[in-house]
Symmetry: C2
Subunit: 466 residues, 2 copies
């Protein structure tokens, strides 16, 4: 028996036939992520149906020093779940379902492979609210959301995925099961071990179950599309809204003029409520009604911003349909492949004070370096999170991806920003990690990785290298 | 030169005379914490005036394998900052002050030795709000609050200290400075290294600076003292309040009847607003006014709870003075030493669903085991946090501390609670850590400790042993 045969034999012994796929049993979907950027040949796919099976599989891989790529919904944007040739792929798809909803403790125990949307719906059915939401909700899995510390549109009010995780069950690289399904908001009994696994992109352990915090359902919300008088008014308007709306502020999404006119002029169905389409727009969502901002207070807020010269116009959505239309302007980014290809997109963070200067500088620099470059800027600015899309007309083959990457990330470094606000590092952003983290910080990451996965079998080559 | 002489010589070389105290220079305050439970003789006290000085001191201690006890405001309740004989004490008192307030990013950069109250006041002066508050605010230091992941009264709305920390500067055991003064709400560039140091009680690194998140100032709040119809109504009343008040709920403090009658009958100046004093009371604080619950909605909430038989009475504070009087009933725990000694006090967490059963069971068990035991129960029940105070009449010498500890923690274990909600483990709760954490969880803690402080010089013997 070859070494490889004996490895598969051990996996089969540990898992049985129904949790193991080899050779032609391995469907294409395990070989590439949604980007289809590359295709690999895993040696096997394991699909555990229990935490114990995850443990059994990892014990075998650990004993053989065999690398494992963990796969959730395959919706990640940085290549973290794209396996390498010869890897074992571990798919969490069968660890799927809500185990318990505890309405008294306001939490839910859920298997890692459960799609985010199912978690949201289960919370809603119990009269509660799960606060993380993102476009891939139908496909992404909650275990992946935790492993990547997902963000989305509600961070300014509810925090990222990290803030939603009360308890976690994780299997370490050597197969040790660490069950810590805490339901309590306060628990200072020793180190908060779960924090290690949140946002470490599957490199320190495989998440199998989680206890998620649920919130009261937001009763009523109001959506407002605002036209800023000029770019620099953004910061003072944000401060005004924060201070007047407090916890009622649910979203503060900014669209720079190029983005706003692209979305309202080029995407069919989108319409600007303003006279002009080249405005810098802010999409506000505010909790109103009984437990939020009174309507007259919201109107007063907008009037004071108009009076102060921060806004030139503001449109309060008069129906759910109109609110959806406003949000669609912000969310039509799925049209980029059709209307803006080839393009490069970025997910960075910047100290709020520097965002506008960063945008101006980058825009002029790209225009200088690449004559026909078009760049669009938008993002969750209340959370410091800026998205950038850069298009250069021409065939995909000559698209200057590397030059654009370098321009963006050099400037992020200069402004002390983060090369990843919410998407993570994976393999694709690894070259730039040192732009946002110091050698000492990266050294601590390595120390932790070495301590928890000395054989480097879990998601090898993601986030950091040795 | 003896080994000890050479150690002090090296410390003096590294720090100079003004940052080092030895022998009779060492004042008593470095030798014991507020509990005065024990007194030690440190070999030296270092009082660094810069991050570099913290690093220089730790390099010497690390080279000599010399244990260091880190001291903040000395207000901890579990002995974590109580040095052992021969330790170097590192006091952060000179690393004191607010470095910057960034009102746009809603954050503050602050030295670790800054008293909590100063942080709160600086935020307020900038029109913002720092959300962690606790009784020791005048003495405790924000570095200690971070190291212990402090909780307090506002956790249900704002989370614990962990949720307030955006960035951190830490010096590792070997003197490596890890500066990560992130100001951005979203930053997924690699592992979130700071999480390791929050709540690890100074055992993994010395916190020198932090970037703290600030919130909008709560504009108006209303305090309500409610009388529950019976113990079991607590859970449904909590659900009702959570669901109707949403983010406007700032505090949900429960006082069991024995506690409430003790505080209103025995503490001078406290008065029950209800006909009887042996009620189970809930102290609600709710954001009202422009950005919170409308007054008629709050009244409707209370009426619906009265109609549903959850409450028998509710008193809405009609003035700031009356609100303070309601809070004083909850906060008169400082009277225990005078009125209830000798006593043992506890800070545990329990799944909310089990809290009432736990209280009933523990109360009857204590009464059975110790004829004259009196136990009082209260806490931040919205956060699962229960405080317990047990008094047995008689001299301090015969006070059955060990038996009470055993009874409480055995029951916490049985109900899957936490032996520490917010105070931490330190040395005093170490024997009970295994009641709330599994061997696998504790093993991960050890792996992390070994990886980051292999010589075990930082707060040796706290939280976990090897």
């Amino acid at each position: 028996m070859s070494m490889s045969d004996s490895f598969i034999h051990d996996l089969r012994q540990a898992l049985g036939d129904d949790q193991l796929l080899v050779h032609e049993q391995i469907e294409p979907r395990y070989k590439t992520d949604w980007s289809k950027a590359s295709v690999c040949e895993p040696v096997a796919v394991v699909r555990p149906r229990s935490t114990e099976a995850v443990s059994a599989a990892l014990k075998v891989c650990h004993a053989h020093g065999h690398p494992v790529t963990v796969q959730g919904g395959m919706t990640g944007l940085v290549g973290a779940s794209q396996a390498n040739d010869g890897d074992v792929v571990m798919s969490l798809e069968f660890l799927n379902g809500v185990q318990e909803i505890d309405a008294t403790a306001s939490c839910m125990t859920v298997w890692a492979g459960t799609p985010l949307q199912l978690v949201q719906e289960a919370a809603q059915a119990a009269g509660l609210y799960f606060a993380v939401d993102l476009g891939a909700r139908g496909s992404c899995q909650v275990g992946g959301n935790i492993a990547t510390n997902a963000g989305g549109n509600r961070v300014i009010r509810y925090g990222m995925m990290r803030e939603q995780v009360l308890g976690l069950e994780v299997v370490l690289a050597d197969g040790t099961i660490v069950t810590s399904l805490n339901k309590m908001l306060k628990n200072n009994a020793g180190y908060d071990v779960k924090q290690l696994f949140i946002g470490s992109e599957g490199t320190l352990g495989v998440i199998t179950r989680a206890v998620l915090r649920l919130h009261a359902m937001p009763t009523e919300t109001t959506t407002v599309l605002c036209a800023l008088a000029h770019q620099d008014a953004m910061v003072s308007f944000l401060r005004r809204v924060r201070s007047m709306a407090g916890p009622s502020l649910l979203a503060f999404e900014v669209m720079w003029p190029d983005f706003f006119s692209f979305m309202t002029e080029r995407v069919p169905g989108n319409v600007s409520p303003f006279e002009r389409s080249d405005v810098m727009a802010v999409l506000l969502e505010v909790a109103t009604g009984d437990a939020g901002l009174a309507n007259d207070v919201l109107e007063g807020l907008l009037e004071s911003a108009l009076d102060a010269g921060e806004l030139t116009d503001a449109a309060i959505a008069q129906s759910g349909k109109q609110a959806d239309a406003f949000w669609r302007i912000r969310d039509s980014v799925s049209e980029f492949p059709l209307l803006f290809a080839p393009y490069a997109s970025f997910d960075v963070s910047l100290p709020i004070q520097s965002v506008c200067e960063f945008v101006t500088t980058l825009k002029s620099q790209l225009a200088k370096d690449m004559a026909c470059a078009q760049s669009l800027f938008f993002g969750h600015i209340g959370d410091s999170n800026l998205h950038i899309v850069v298009h250069v007309p021409g065939p995909r083959q000559t698209f200057p991806k590397d030059a654009i990457d370098a321009a963006v990330y050099e400037l992020v470094k200069q402004y002390h920003g983060s090369v990843s606000a919410e998407h993570g590092i994976g393999t694709r952003k690894k070259p730039w990690l040192g732009y946002s983290r110091s050698p000492a910080e990266i050294e601590v990451m390595k120390v932790i990785k070495k301590a928890l996965d000395p054989g480097q079998i879990l998601n090898r080559g993601r986030v950091i290298d040795f």
